[in-house]
Amino acid sequence: MSTARSVLIVDDEQPARERMQRLVAELPGWAVAGTCSNGSDALALTAKLDPAVVLLDIRMPGMPGIEVARHLGALERPPAVVFTTAYDEYALQAFEAQAVGYLLKPVRRERLEEALKHASRLSSPQLHSLATQEHPLARREHVAVRVRDQLKLIPVKDIRYFRADRKYVTVRHARGEDLLDESLRALEEEFRHEFVRAHRSLLVGVAHVEALERSGEEGYTLRLRGEPEPLPVSRRHVADLRKRLEGRWA
């Protein structure tokens, strides 16, 4: 049994966890690494236990499964992910379209075995498309940054801006700055309701903007709450930016 591959079970309902635990334990070649009932525990346990597969419930209080999966992708050794759900027509269509593994509860033993065997890590295009679909639970409420071996979660509403540098994206938030390994373009698409492009390399949290100010002949700068330095605004984004800000104030 020493070669058994390990599984982490994440589900907010105790009977569901119990059953899944039993099913996995009965499968030859598989072992339960642990169980937990919410997304943040799932992230901590994955980092600690390094399971091969995480069985992830979609509908959980706090952080929904799809968001957990995205944060797992930020780990150094991301586990394979299989989603579980009793019923969710929207998510299932996306999973089918993206060939993401999922199981319907109550899960059959054979299906579970099959899904575990074929479980794979989610590629970034898969994660990206899950995040941008119009599912109410798809958009992240946090972004995960890796600080040494730990994942640090930053609430999206605390983020003032994303700024793209050569290779990374800098996340500026209430408690400092972190580096994120995602593209600005993907972030813009996912958080299009909360953020707006101000510059080729700058995505600004609409709620944090204090003022759009004229500077020089026809240039503009942006002042954010809590930020001493004004941010550059490129001319081609001024109109769009103004529209979003007016929308906010209206």
């Binding site: 907010d12 309902e13 105790q14 009977p15 569901a16 119990e18 059953r19 039993r22 009932s37 919410n38 509908r59 209080p61 706090g62 929904p64 009793a86 019923y87 027509e89 929207y90 269509q93 996306a94 379209a97 319907l104 509860k105 109550p106 295009p125 498309s129 941008t132 679909q133 119009e134 109410p136 639970l137 958009r139 409420e141 373009r185 993907a186 698409e189 299009r192």
Partner: protein, 387 residues
């Protein structure tokens, strides 16, 4: 026309399917900025009453209809030689039919953005123009090729009468076809809506979410606690029996509360400590009638949208009192601070369903009101006491 307008507007509500369909298209980065606009155009194209003339099936239909028209017109002229007449008319009408189909095929995506009246007028204009062009070309071909080797009978001789006759026939045929397309389309739409509303009505009564989660709980309990699993199956059976019964028959309040408690028992197995329900209904006349399955779905909503989203759960309060001959049942649940912005339309489905049934049973004297605060959601149902 005004009736059609109303139907169209009702269809304008964001259809549930549209939420789903953009998923594959949003893979293409950059396009996803306006997925809703894209899908709306696609949806309206699918939902346009003029069929797609680019389809081979339609092209065949056009050939067939043109030929039938040619036969009809030839038969209607007893004086002329039938076969010559048929050959002449067939050639002319096939040209006319196929070019008209090509015009409509090309114009359809643009026409689909207009209203029914506008697009019908546009179709008339396009087809009349096309008829004029084809008639003119035919006349020109007659003067150019109408030599003794090709019988003159194949070509028209008189200019203006020929054109005017053709335009007249074009208007009549177009009007008939448009009417036919429109009626067929309305009928298909009606069938689709009917099917969808039946499914929605069923889902308002039996929530798939609840059904499958309960099944999963029972599957878990069969091994760990067979006695409770057995009880859960009995509860589920009783609940579904009530659900599948005629929903118009009223229940005594006592029975409705009993069903609601059965439902609560099943959910408690799944949610454990997280679900607490406080019942404060002792003041209600338990023999009074209530439309069946109105309180239970309200508790279901409170659990689905309230308790399930809270990591440590919460308390749902069911309270009731009688004010001046009117029963008031209030269900209050806590709301999580971070909630997905728009969680499922199922909630409104259930509320609309209950509202309709209260209206059906009590007219203006039954009502359902909703008060939402950031951390609390409260639904109040009011209806007169009837014993």
């Amino acid at each position: 026309m005004s009736k059609t307008g109303a139907v169209e507007r009702a269809e304008d509500r964001p259809p549930r399917a549209a939420l789903v369909s953009p998923a594959p298209s949003s893979v293409a980065a950059g396009r996803a900025a306006a997925p809703t606009a894209d899908s709306r155009v696609e949806a309206s194209l699918d939902d346009f009453f003029i069929p797609d003339f680019c389809a081979p099936r339609m092209a065949f239909a056009v050939v067939l209809i043109s030929e039938l028209l040619a036969v009809t017109l030839s038969l209607a002229r007893p004086g002329a030689a039938f076969l010559t007449e048929l050959a002449r008319l067939s050639m002319f009408l096939q040209w006319l039919g196929l070019t008209s189909a090509a015009v409509l095929c090309y114009a359809r995506p643009r026409l689909a953005r207009l209203t029914v009246a506008q697009s019908s007028q546009a179709v008339f204009a396009l087809l009349m123009l096309n008829t004029a062009v084809i008639s003119a070309l035919t006349l020109w071909a007659g003067t150019r090729f109408g030599t003794p080797t090709i019988p003159m009978a194949l070509f028209p001789r008189d200019h203006w009468p020929f054109l005017l006759r053709n335009e007249g026939i074009c208007v009549i045929v177009t009007a008939m076809l448009l009417r036919y397309f429109f009626v067929t389309h309305q009928w298909q739409k009606h069938v689709r809506t009917e099917a969808r509303s039946r499914i929605e009505a069923l889902q308002a009564r039996i929530r798939p979410h609840f059904l499958f989660n309960s099944m999963n709980t029972i599957a878990a309990l069969t091994r760990s606690d067979p006695a409770r699993a057995e009880e859960a199956v009995e509860d589920l059976a009783e609940l579904f029996r009530a659900t599948l019964r005629d929903s118009h028959s009223p229940l005594r309040l006592k029975d409705e509360f009993e069903l609601t408690r059965i439902y609560q028992r099943i959910e408690a197995l799944r949610l454990g400590e997280r679900l607490k329900v406080t019942w404060d209904v002792a003041d209600l006349p338990m023999r009074a009638f209530v439309p069946g399955l109105t309180v239970q779905p309200l508790l279901e909503n409170a659990i689905y949208h309230g308790i399930e989203a809270l990591e440590h759960g919460g308390t749902v309060v069911v309270s009731g009192r009688v004010v001046a001959g009117v029963i008031e049942i209030t269900i209050t649940n806590p709301l999580a601070a971070t909630r997905p912005p728009s969680d499922r339309s199922g909630n409104h489905l259930a509320l609309d369903n209950i509202r309709q049934r209260l209206a059906l049973a009590y007219g203006g004297r039954g009502s359902l009101t909703v008060e939402q605060q950031p951390d609390q959601y409260r639904v109040t149902m009011r209806f007169p006491v009837t014993e």
